[in-house]
């Protein structure tokens, strides 16, 4: 009896928690979900790392790497969600648009006089380069989407994929390795890549130092930050590293804000309608081709931005960073999170990077830190030893191959998701596209009957 009552109590409390969560305004519940996922991920990796003796610095280094990669993914996944999740535009050329952004930025900012080994660029300031990169990615998106408006969705996918490959091959080709426009030597550097200003140094320097120049000493903000971090014993290099990651977090926040507003609007409603049935949408008087163009260009510009901040952080890009596989990783992240949901896009990026992408190598590090396993060079040696009654070589081999085995994991997870949860983690959420929270709207007639349920939090602003 008492047990029953207790469990009843528990479930009631759970229910009320759930109700309270659902009663929150949309933006609050969204942030809560994202924050909870992030904290959960940090807690999981942090506790695991600390307990198994990776040490504080090892753990924070991993957390920073995970955060950086997750934010980079979140940027692209959000853009892809705008294309595919909202509008149903099956863009499988994501890597190509990222390449356009990153390379435009690289060529714009590279040193015009790089010495004998390097490729010359225009030597423009970094912000100009970033803006140019986004504009170029958007314009290229425009070029791709115009002919593609006339073709069916599956052919559109082929066009985008082919296009991304064309971009990558153009970058790699010897013809564009170095060329001359209006007397200026420029180039993509071909397969060798191109060097330019390191974003992960330039941006922290702007934040910390006067005029972005370390020689001129700290600025007001930089002084505050460094004094504070110094007091709690954090090294300056670590501060600089984290500042770049924080910049990424701010970028994700800005893009998230932009896309949530885009989605929760009559414009976003047209996007969803196009995804569901373009002819019906046209028959309601909507100029769907125009909407598709706008949305595709916007998404491509964001992909360009992501390409710049992700692949360009080290001040170096080469064509191998933009292989088609990158596009598919981004799709997996979106499908995990739930396409059609901006919150789901960010959560998907976090889970994909933290658990699937960085998880297995992390597990490998933890195991190697604690157990001294044999490391046979082939699986054959492991199997032979297993036949002899010793499983350790096989386990050792498996642990050694964990970073590669994760690709099998991706496939397995994807199949499982398609079968058991095709909507992803958050794709089932009811997120009506309107600047007003439609979930709480009640018919005026019904409202007269019970006024209690209608008051409180109706607008998402």
């Amino acid at each position: 009896m008492t047990d029953d009552e207790q469990s009843n109590d528990g479930s009631e409390r759970q229910a009320s928690l759930r109700e309270r969560f659902e009663a929150l305004p949309r933006w609050q519940s969204d942030l809560l979900l994202i924050g909870a996922t992030l904290l959960g991920l940090y807690a999981l990796m942090g506790v695991l790392g600390l307990v198994t003796g990776l040490g504080v610095s090892g753990v924070t280094r991993t957390l920073r790497a995970v955060t950086f990669l997750a934010t980079a993914y979140a940027l692209v996944v959000l853009a892809l969600n705008l294309h595919w999740g909202y509008t149903g535009l099956f863009n499988i050329g994501v890597a190509g648009f990222m390449a356009v952004g990153a390379y435009t930025m690289a060529i714009a900012t590279a040193d015009p006089d790089p010495g004998p080994a390097g490729v010359p660029g225009l030597g423009l300031p970094v912000p100009v380069g970033i803006a140019l990169g986004m504009i170029a990615a958007g314009l290229v998106g425009l070029v791709v989407v115009l002919p593609a408006l006339r073709i069916r969705a599956d052919y559109f996918a082929i066009v985008t994929l082919a296009f991304a490959e064309v971009i990558r091959l153009l970058i790699t080709s010897g013809a564009l390795r170095e060329f001359e426009i209006a007397g200026r030597e420029l180039g993509t550097g071909g397969g060798a890549g191109i060097n330019f200003a390191r974003l992960d140094t330039v941006i922290p320097n702007w934040v910390l130092y006067r005029g972005g120049d370390i020689e001129q000493g700290t600025n007001v903000l930089g002084y505050q930050i460094l004094t504070l971090t110094n007091a709690i014993g954090i090294e300056r290099t670590m501060v600089e590293n984290w500042l770049y990651t924080f910049t990424m977090i701010l970028l994700v926040a800005a893009v998230f804000w932009l896309l949530v507003r885009t989605g929760n609007s009559p414009f976003g409603r047209m996007l969803k309608a196009i995804r569901e049935d373009e002819l019906a949408t046209k028959s309601l008087g909507k100029n769907t081709p125009m909407v598709k163009i706008k949305v595709f260009v916007l998404g491509c510009a964001i992909m360009g931005l992501a390409g710049i901040f992700w692949q360009g952080r080290n001040g170096y890009v080469d064509p191998n960073a933009f292989l088609p596989i990158v596009t598919f990783y981004i799709f997996i992240a979106l499908i995990i999170g739930g396409s059609g949901s901006n919150t789901g896009s960010v959560v998907g990026a976090l889970v994909f990077v933290g658990v699937l992408f960085e998880g297995p190598p992390y597990a490998q590090r933890i195991v190697r830190q604690n157990v001294d396993l044999p490391r046979p060079s082939t699986v054959y040696d492991g199997v032979v030893a297993l036949g002899g009654g010793d499983p350790m070589p096989l386990i050792g081999y498996t642990v050694g191959e964990l970073p590669n085995l994760r690709f099998i994991l991706f496939g397995a997870i994807l199949i499982a998701l398609m079968i058991y949860r095709p909507d992803g983690m958050l794709g089932h959420r009811n997120e009506p596209a309107s600047p007003i929270d439609l979930r709480r709207e009640r018919s005026p007639r019904e409202g007269l009957a019970d006024t209690a349920s209608t008051d409180g939090g109706e607008v998402d602003e």
Binding site: S265, P266, E276, L284, K294, S443
Partner: protein
């Protein structure tokens, strides 16, 4: 005399047929789906378009609404040629259609479906939807739209389904949703493609009541329908198509007595 002339000058369109189709022709490969079809629809009437399967009714609909481009012929709506316009442009002129198989937007709620219908919404402009100061106006407009949506949903008695995903609705409810959604576009004339297909008798009665109410308000209807009783009891004018052509045209009683029509429906090739 002079009075009627004066009103005629003031409203040149008044009385003239809002929709005129002349010599419409559409082929698919070797199949002639619509062949030299001409008819006009009277203002404020319910006109029925009937014919056996494959008579070209739906193709005619698609040619009128811009889904297909006719090979030849002209479509004039309110004195304006709309023959080669896009579906969205035609809908924008006030000629709005529904589909044979209801095209609800399944993964959107009924409310979203309805809100989509309003034309020229401020918030359909990406810039206005996103920019902080301008968004306020979008929200105000949305509130006004919502009021009309609730009114319409109550009129069609589907307000209890407002938060349901449109894909979860029954066939008849979808038809109601589609018709009410089409109404919110502020049309002059509605083209309904088999509005009663798959609708149970009580719902059918309700739908017809709505259509008559709307007709009384001045809307013009052209409907394709297979149910002869519906056509004969509700239309003032009936157009019969057969093998891509207009076979016969006239008031229901005359059509029912027409030998050719009986022949087309009962005998001969389908």
């Amino acid at each position: 005399m002079s009075e009627t002339e004066a009103t005629g000058v003031e409203n040149p369109e008044e009385g003239a047929a809002p929709l005129e189709v002349s010599n419409l022709r559409k082929t698919f490969g070797g199949v002639v789906a619509v062949d030299d079809t001409s008819f006009s629809v009277e203002r404020g009437s319910i006109t029925g378009l009937i014919g056996p399967n494959g008579a070209g009714k739906s193709t005619t609909f698609n040619c009128i609404t811009g889904v297909h481009t006719p090979d030849s012929g002209r479509v004039v709506f309110e004195g304006e040629a709309i023959t080669n316009l896009n579906p969205n442009q035609i809908a924008g002129k006030g000629l709005v259609r529904t589909f044979q198989i209801a095209r609800e937007l399944s993964e959107m709620t009924v409310l979203e479906n309805m809100l989509l219908a309003f034309e020229n919404q401020q918030g359909e402009d990406l810039w206005r939807s996103v920019t902080p100061g301008l968004r306020k106006r979008v929200i105000e407009e949305e509130r006004a739209f919502l009021e009309r949506v609730w009114e319409t949903l109550e009129l069609f008695e589907i307000d209890h389904l407002a938060h349901e995903q449109a894909g979860n609705l029954s066939g008849g409810q979808r038809k109601l949703l589609e018709l009410s959604r089409a109404l919110l576009t502020d049309p002059e004339m509605l083209l309904l493609d088999e509005p009663m297909a798959g609708v149970n008798p009580s719902l059918e009665k309700k739908l017809l009541e709505r259509i008559h109410e709307l007709k009384a308000q001045g809307y013009t209807f052209l409907l394709v329908e297979h149910d002869m009783d519906v056509i004969m009891e509700n239309c003032e004018h009936v157009i019969v198509m057969h093998q891509g052509r207009v076979l016969s045209e006239g008031p229901p009683a005359a059509i029912q007595a027409d030998e050719q029509v009986i022949e087309a429906y009962l005998g001969g090739e389908v």
